[in-house]
Amino acid sequence: MKTILLVEDNGSNMYLITFILEKNGYNVLQAFRGEEGVKIALKEKLDLILMDIQLPDIDGFEATKRIRASDAPKMPIIAITSYAMAGDEEKALRLGFTGYLRKPINPTTFLQEIEKYLPVVAV
């Protein structure tokens, strides 16, 4: 079972995304704050991280930078945000994100996108 870390400060969205992922057979770890997310990312064995950009303590960019600074250079980190300004996507990719998803999420395309970033494991 793939483990996904979800860093998201909004409870409703956390519940929604967790629901979709769990329904589709993913193990979800939750972090409501950036630092908490970094801590989990460094401790647990993960397959993918979904990271909100706007967070109460450190933002998604900073959290990603810290995770990348440790020993997780190849970890797929996907930005998931309604923070939609011109050049945001580019900035996110430049600062270490692997991908970029815009809210509101469409359940079908959302799952397709996630699968795109997960390493294929031979069964």
């Binding site: 909004n10 409703s12 929604l16 329904k23 011109a86 509101p104």
Partner: protein, 510 residues
């Protein structure tokens, strides 16, 4: 005294002195003439006396009628000369004596003549005659000496006259020289000194000392000149004072203006700083609003979405219908928020472009695909003609927003028929057109199209959703990326929206 008068006086003086010399010369020559006349008379008297003496001797020796006649003739001419003489009073006594002798000689000669009338010559008679002749000779010698006296006197008076003339000429000369010299001296000093003073005054004024007064009180022309000069200096000084005052006032006004300008500049600067801060706050406000409004909507749309997909469980027909309405309204609200945020960004100049290269043909296919369900539902034909590949350098998301807006409007207002999407590239200009067979737009409504919150009322179409911002945002975004939007429509037939833009952002369109 005026210089003119002084000069005239000088001339008059010279004329007077020359006249005096002339008069003196005339007077002296007259004196000389008189002396000369006196000498001539004296000479004639002298000669006559000698001749009469000789004639007396002749008559004594030859007492004839002829000798007698000669004597009287001579004496007559002498008497005539003596009577005609007009001599100076100082020689009058000598003349009187000569006249007296003249009468005497005549009476003596008459006695001599009478002595020869007796015809008898006695010794006594001849003795008497000898005495008479001797007396006559004595008288004649007396006359000669008197004549010599006269001659001498004449010579003396000539000498005196010559001396006098020289003396007078000398004196007059000295007087003339002294007079002219003195007059010139006073004239020069009366001109030169005030001129020097005036010159000094001019120099003082040239140095800027306008309060300096030449102050010559002389009543001549130079005095007048210096007074005029002082008057001029005074006027000049007043004028300069006036000007200085005006200049000071101007300077003060200028300074005041400068201060005011500086104050205003500072105010403007402060206002600008405040405005910039306000602008920044506005930008921040827009981006937080965007985020804060979307977040709850994400949940609403997201949950309705998973419920409608049956992830949560089976739905009844009514539940599906109502959830569909929630989803539709949620989508509309999101669209509205997106448009409002875009409008705010555009109007706050906060809209940032993200320029990069992308395949427009690919994007067009995406657009077509996203409308497939909607067109299928309404049974509309969606035809697209695009090149196989067309690389464009611009803001992909904004461009897609505009084209999506066009297609979405076409789908919304077309009930049957076809929607055609065309892309043509010519000379670096791309033209994207979306043509429908919809309800069309009335001519009078065309200019309302690109205004904010404008929705053209149309009977029987109350249920159409729309923000009234779509085309307004499209127009503004098109302006930002250097493009143009255009519409052509026939009411009841259909509309064609065209969006033209440069192949590369920043290049001007011809």
């Amino acid at each position: 005294m005026k210089i003119k008068i002084r000069l005239q006086l000088s001339a008059v003086l010279v004329i007077c002195l020359i006249s005096a010399i002339g008069l003196t010369l005339i007077f002296m020559s007259q004196q000389e003439n008189e002396a000369l006349e006196q000498q001539n008379a004296a000479n004639e008297i002298l000669e006559s006396a000698f001749e009469l003496n000789i004639l007396t001797g002749d008559y004594f020796l030859h007492p004839e009628e002829r000798a007698q006649m000669q004597w009287y003739l001579k004496h007559g001419s002498l008497s005539e000369l003596l009577m005609g003489l007009e001599l100076n009073l100082d020689v009058q006594s000598i003349l009187n004596k000569i006249l007296q002798n003249n009468e005497d000689i005549e009476s003596i000669f008459s006695q001599l003549v009478a002595s020869y009338k007796g015809q008898e010559i006695t010794g006594q008679e001849s003795e008497i005659r000898a005495i008479l002749v001797a007396q006559l000779s004595a008288k004649l010698f007396d006359m000669v000496s008197d004549a010599k006296l006269l001659s001498k006197g004449a010579q003396e008076s000539v000498t005196i006259a010559v001396r006098m003339t020289s003396l007078l000429i000398m004196i007059f000369g000295i007087v003339i020289a002294a007079g002219i010299g003195l007059n010139s001296f006073f004239l020069i000093s009366s001109i030169a000194k005030p001129v020097a003073t005036l010159h000094h005054g001019v120099e003082m004024i040239e140095k800027g000392n306008l309060d300096y007064k030449v102050g010559t009180s002389a009543r001549d022309e130079i005095g007048q000149l210096s007074r005029s000069f002082d008057q001029m200096t005074l006027s000049l000084s007043e004028e300069i004072t006036e000007r200085k005052k005006a200049q000071d006032e101007l300077q003060n006004a200028h300074d005041a203006l400068e201060i005011r300008v500086a104050k205003r500049t500072k105010e403007l600067h402060d206002a600008n700083v405040r405005l910039k801060e306000l602008d920044r706050l506005k930008g921040t406000f827009i981006s937080s609003m965007s985020h804060e409004l979307r977040t709850p909507l994400n949940s609403i749309i997201g949950f309705t979405g998973i419920m409608l997909q049956g992830m949560v469980g089976e739905l009844t027909e009514e539940q599906r219908k109502q959830l569909t309405i929630v989803k539709k309204n949620g989508d509309h609200l999101l669209e509205l928020i997106t448009d409002v945020i875009d409008v705010s960004r555009i109007e706050a100049n906060q809209m940032k472009l993200d320029i990069k290269k992308f395949d427009l043909a690919d994007m067009m296919r995406d657009v077509r695909d996203s409308f497939k369900i909607a067109t299928d539902e309404k049974d509309l034909k969606l035809i697209m003609k695009v090149p196989e590949e067309l690389t464009v350098e611009s803001d992909k998301r904004r461009m897609k927003q505009i084209i999506m807006n066009f297609v979405s409007n076409a789908v919304k207002f077309t009930d049957e028929g076809t929607i055609q999407m065309h892309v043509v590239e010519r000379d670096g200009v791309v033209e994207v057109s979306v043509k429908d067979t919809g309800i069309g737009i009335r001519k009078e409504d065309l200019n309302m199209l690109f205004k904010q919150f404008s929705r053209i009322p149309e009977e029987g179409r109350h249920f159409e959703t729309g923000t009234g911002l779509g085309l307004y945002v499209s127009k503004k975004v098109s302006d930002l990326i250097g493009g143009k939007v255009k519409v052509e429509s026939t009411y009841g037939v259909g509309s064609e929206f065209t969006f033209t833009f440069p192949l590369r952002y920043g290049k001007a369109m011809r």
